[in-house]
């Protein structure tokens, strides 16, 4: 594994204070952070919590690939950390966390956006929403 890349599957919510560890570098002047957080509504329904299911080995492999692609595109100097959550998360919990550290802010912002958009389309994670009225459903997604 590349020392400039770190990916991890977490049981339970992503702990936001875990970020930026080992990402400092004297040549880096920018760090962008992104957290995907459980929202209390979706398509008019009141969300109580979300269950996250995932296929760990392919998740880890695909996150590494996405990070490598970002570093090829915006520079090998980029340091990238990605955490994704598994299990039940309540409203306000972080389900995904991304930190990109780079020499300048433009590539940090762009690479971070690239990583989250790629995760939404390529990483085998599935969400089952549980609603306040007691109903639940698996959300539709993108075919791999």
């Amino acid at each position: 594994m590349c020392s400039n890349m770190f990916v991890q599957v977490i049981d339970g919510p992503v702990q936001t204070h875990e970020f930026c560890k080992n990402l400092d570098h004297p040549t880096h002047g920018a760090q962008t952070l992104f957290f995907g957080v459980v929202r209390n509504h979706n398509e008019g329904k009141k969300v109580a919590y979300i269950h996250y299911d995932l296929f760990q080995s392919i998740v880890e492999k695909t996150l590494q690939e996405i990070g490598s692609e970002a570093r090829q595109k915006w520079g090998e100097a980029l340091k990238i950390t990605i955490f994704v959550a598994r299990g039940n998360l309540k409203v306000g919990d972080a389900s995904v966390g991304i930190c990109v550290s780079s020499p300048h802010r433009a590539e940090a912002f762009e690479a971070c956006r690239f990583v989250i958009e790629s995760i939404k389309k390529r990483v085998p994670i599935w969400k089952k929403e549980y609603y306040e009225d007691g109903k639940s459903e698996w959300l539709k997604g993108c075919s791999l």
Partner: protein, 90 residues
């Protein structure tokens, strides 16, 4: 010649597991991924009549050893597969 295979279930397919987290059935040893997907539909229809299951299986992919397979791929020595429904990301 037939071969017994197992299909690990994720996401919307999990409710069809019989406690083991997977489906098990036999297929001809020259079956390809498309045949296995058709068989998954048949196995699930034994459990529940769901008019959307054909579409869900069609929109899903099969994987083994961490690799996503094409519908035309044939069976190798592998007997363990996973079916991955459309993904939602984090």
């Amino acid at each position: 010649m037939k071969k017994e295979i197992s299909i690990k279930l994720f996401g919307a397919f999990r409710k069809y597991d019989s406690g083991s987290g997977e489906l098990r059935f036999s297929v001809p040893s020259d079956a390809n991924v498309l045949c296995i997907k058709q068989r998954i539909v048949a196995e699930i229809e034994k459990i529940e009549q769901n008019p959307q299951i054909k579409t869900l299986v069609s929109d899903s992919v099969l994987a083994n050893n961490g690799r996503i397979l094409q519908e035309s791929d044939g069976l190798t020595e592998d007997t363990q597969f996973s079916i991955l429904p459309p993904v939602c990301g984090g």
